[in-house]
């Protein structure tokens, strides 16, 4: 590789480098300073993420580096910004939790940084190797994170489950990748697409495709590869659940989009069927299963399953409009998830964290502001106009309708009706039930996240929707 090419490649990958180097430095600081450095490292890691984000937006040029393995296009940049926001918010929200729950582990922010690096690589992956590298870096960090509270049986169980199933899904993905390579002779997405366009459909290629899709579906927790989600969400410490529900989903969705739309564009009528299937299964399963839940983290797990289903509706359209829908949906999803988890993290009484839905009883009387924001979040998750959640659903459903996927859109709407039930049940619990014991006052950083996301969900998104839609449009055009 020529030096100038290397330097341009390094320029393109600068944000990832910042994150990786920052993670290592912070790790050293932590190792030498011990537990008491946790606060410092948390703050510094947020700073690193912000620097990386600024670098990404202001300095880094678009382009292809490392011989096609690493791609930074508008789509990647859009997704990376979302990932960085999600990671930064998750780290910020952990501050109060770390203090009150004696969860002073400096490894947490470091692992988040490493995982974020992996996600950034996933988003930018231009070939199968980079895809796998990014995926594994992200996943390994998260396995550890899920089990980080090693004194807790639930936490370790969650970590272990995630790890074992993750290994299984990685195996499938690798197997599928090898099949694809075997039948096309290429690992780069663009070249795979070229070969596929030439030779058309072959059984081996299809099998490989399905296996890779299965591996990626596992990461976005789409049905039937979702089984880990509720257990891990519930078992992992709440800040980690908040992290898990945000950034990794976005990265995996970005990867899935790039892999299907860029790598298998000629075979879109093939993978479309798979996407439609898992989309319907996810929406329906998420909606129905969430009704039976009493634990709000578990409920959010099913909720996120359903939301991945909705996002996949956009992907199933397999055109610019659909991908734009996915991008907008993921943006909105991130805001809603972060806001909701800010509330969940604030569900703390004097004797510790609580996470049952019943604990929210009468919140409107004990903490009206929190109840109001959570209500906005719930209604937005349910997709009621004029909240942002409705806009997200509107774009993906319209994309599906324009692409002729009527049944998919109708099923999606029906599923969201069912979904409305459990969101409204939370609202009802907060506003109409007898007040339970009040929570301790909300920590400042949670309040900040809640205010920002809450206002974005309604009504700020109306004012910023122009530039965001334009950015999403530009990002979606990358592939077509």
């Amino acid at each position: 590789m020529m030096p100038d090419m290397l330097s341009s490649s390094l320029q393109i990958a600068a944000p990832e480098l910042i994150l990786a180097i920052g993670a290592m430095i912070l790790l050293m600081i932590g190792v030498f300073m011990g537990e008491k450095s946790a606060q410092t490292i948390t703050g510094l890691s947020v700073a690193v993420i912000i620097i990386a984000a600024l670098w990404l937006i202001l300095v880094t040029p678009l382009g292809v580096g490392f011989g096609g393995s690493f791609v930074l296009d508008p789509f990647a940049r859009f997704m990376k910004i979302l990932v960085l926001i999600g990671s930064a918010a998750a780290v910020i929200m952990s501050v109060g939790f770390a203090e009150s729950e004696r969860f002073n582990r400096f490894e947490f922010p470091v692992l988040v940084l490493l995982s974020t690096t992996g996600m950034m690589m996933m988003v930018s992956a231009g070939d199968m190797i980079a895809l796998y590298l990014g995926l594994e870096l992200q996943s390994l960090a998260i396995y550890v994170l899920a089990a980080i509270n090693r004194d807790s049986v639930r936490s370790t169980e969650a970590g272990l489950k995630y790890f074992v199933l993750g290994a299984l899904s990685s195996g499938m993905l690798l197997y599928g990748a090898s099949m694809v390579y075997g039948f096309t002779g290429h690992i780069e997405f663009t070249q795979i697409a070229a070969v596929a366009a030439e030779s058309g459909r072959s059984v081996g290629l299809i099998v490989g495709l399905v296996f890779v899709l299965a591996g990626l579906a596992f990461k976005i927790s789409a049905v039937p590869f979702h089984m880990w989600t509720p257990d891990v969400y519930e078992g992992a410490p709440t800040p980690i659940t908040a992290f898990l529900a945000g950034a990794p989903k976005i990265a995996a969705m970005a990867l899935l989009t790039r892999f299907t739309v860029q790598g298998f564009e000629p075979l879109s009528d093939q993978w479309q069927q798979v996407i439609v299937f898992i989309s319907i299964a996810s929406m329906a399963f998420g909606a129905f299963a969430a009704i039976g839940q009493h634990n709000i983290k578990r409920l959010m797990a099913y909720s996120s399953i359903a939301h991945m289903g909705y996002a996949l509706v956009g992907l199933a359209a397999a055109n610019t409009e659909g991908v734009r829908g996915v991008l907008i949906y993921m943006t909105v999803y991130l805001m809603m998830t972060l806001g909701t988890f800010a509330v969940i993290l604030a569900m703390r009484r004097r004797d510790g964290m609580v996470e049952e839905i019943d604990d929210l009883s009468g919140l409107s009387q004990t903490n009206p502001m929190m109840a109001l924001f959570l209500t906005v979040m719930m209604l937005s998750l349910a997709g009621l106009p004029p909240l942002a959640g409705f806009i997200g659903k509107y774009f993906v459903f319209m994309a599906a309708v324009h692409a002729g996927l009527w049944p998919l859109a109708i099923i999606g709407v029906l599923a969201s009706v069912v979904g409305l039930f459990y969101y409204l049940r939370i609202v009802k619990t907060m506003w109409f039930d007898e007040p339970a014991e009040a929570f301790v006052p909300m920590a400042i950083e949670l309040r900040a996240v809640l205010w920002v996301t809450g206002l974005v969900v309604f009504p700020v998104y109306i004012f910023v929707s122009g530039p965001i839609f334009a950015a999403a449009e530009a990002a979606a055009k990358t592939f077509f």
Binding site: L160, K161, V164, L165, L168, S169, M172, R201, V203, I206, V207, L209, V210, F211, L213, A214, F218, V223, P224, F225, M227, W228, P230, D231, Q270, Q273, V274, F277, F285, F288, A289, I291, G292, Q293, V418, F421
Partner: protein
Amino acid sequence: MYTIIVLLPLAGFLIAGLFGKSIGAKACEYTLSGFMVVAAILSWIAFLSFGYGEGETLRVPLLHWMQSGTLDVAWSLRIDRLTLVMLVVVNTVSTLVHVYSIGYMHHDPHRPRFFAYLSLFTFAMLMLVTSNNLVQMFFGWEGVGLASYLLIGFWYKKPTANAAAMKAFVVNRVGDFGFALGIFGVFALFGSVNFDTIFAGAADVAAQLGGGHEAAAAGAGAAAHGAGDVVLNFAGYGLTMGSALTVVCLLLFMGAMGKSAQLGLHTWLPDAMEGPTPVSALIHAATMVTAGVFMLARMSPLFELSPSALTFVTFIGATTAFFAATIGLVQNDIKRVIAYSTCSQLGYMFVALGVGAYGPAIFHLFTHAFFKALLFLGAGSVIHAVSDEQDMRRMGGLRTHIPKTYWMMVIGTLALTGFPFTAGYYSKDAIIEAAFVGHNSFALYGWGMTVIAAALTSFYSWRLIFMTFHGKPRASADVMHHIHESPLVMLVPLYVLAAGALFAGIVFEHSFIGEGYDEFWHAALYTGAENHVLHDMHEISFWIAILPTLCMVIGFVVAYMFYIRQPSLAKETAKRNRGLYQFLLNKWYFDELYDFLFVKPSQHLGRFLWKTGDGKVIDGLGPDGVSARVLDVTGRVVRLQSGYLYHYAFAMLIGVAALVTWMMLGGAS
């Protein structure tokens, strides 16, 4: 002035309805009663100052209401003699009832609501009688129906009161349905709902029908059709003008039957006695129930054109007069006796209308308002005295305890039975005479029925007096101990009404039905060219004229025999004629018949539609069913989440295997 008369009760209703709680019951009572006193005085001034002879019909426009195509409806007052008579009746009785209620209701915690309803009723009734078109009349018509419903069910915690209120409402809907159809019919025939246009059209039709086809060219508007042309399609029949008018008149009369409790649609009136007694006096004796009579009198130009409709009116009125009187003979509830009496007296009025004697009908309405309100308020005073007991079998011997009430009741009874020179004597005898000289085929039947009913009326009225006031006390010692004369606030209205019951006849006979008829009514009541009833009724023989009075005496003597001389006679007679007695006691089994014919089937239908149609089909397959299925699915789906790692891995493998299989086999194309 007329506007003030009409709007004062509305103002009272709004004050008591909106601010009743905040200004207190006492303030409400006095404000509203004060308003009514003003309105009553103003209506008497209007009545007396309205020019005799030259009195033209006044029209006072208030507001424009609606316009759609040729339908043009305005809020406006039509002031003529008929309206003024009604204004006087309504406002006088209403005022007295307001005042009386201050005393009668003073234990009740919901007095502001009661007074608000009373004023609402008065307003609606005034709208009804002052209306210048059928739609405004219908508004008033429904308004009094609503107020009646609210007041019958005033004690809403009493299930029987609620049932009675609903019954009154539902039965009235049947009549109102006919009335509404009648209004549509009138609009179809004359192209307008305004009285002026209708009456003008009716006059044209009269000319046509009288003069045959030659006069057709002179007709205007809808009446321009030839008498043989089809002008209205009803129930699949094309009707010519003559029969169309009959149909329309019968439909209008159907509305009147409902409101005025005529045979067939009368069942609600006795039950309406569940309401507070002042309400019975105001609504169910003096004013609302006479709305039907008023409406027919108002529409007299139309009814004059349809002899068949008038014949039917005579038949129904006569039958009702007789039928209600027979039931009144055996009832034991003091208010129900008076209620059936009201029903019977309304029958008299319809007989008069049916034979074309509109003057006597309205005259009887006028006098009846006084003595029937007197009887009801007197009954209220009795009930008040004996601790809310209404059964006459547990009264008796009250004469010495409440002498003032007793004498007032006697005056009312004298007037009702037509004792010479009391109010009822003039008006009732006039009706009976008019029926005797009437020309339609049921006029003689009407005469016979009303004469018999006169005897029956006398019997049951005196029976009421004797059972209540004479004989030995049958009430418990406790009740007798508490017995007391009513306060002055309740007695004064009785005195006023008693004065009316005694003198209203002698004072107004001349104007209402006598020599001053044309001068007094002017154009308010229309009589056809061939209608000479009023003239003829003054030329009947002495024996016919004296007959009603004889009947009254017979009724009195029989009642005296049964209840004073030989109290056992009544029971024996009842025992000997057991079948007849039961038949009368059960009100000719009308309620049972309706229950069987209409109420039960519709309840079954309703229950079927509710339980099966709505509950099982719509709810079961709709909301409930869907949500139950959702929960079923949820239960099953949640069970999938077993927590075992190998289940999860298995699910993933099954998923990927299924997808691969599908893609290789089916999804390929």
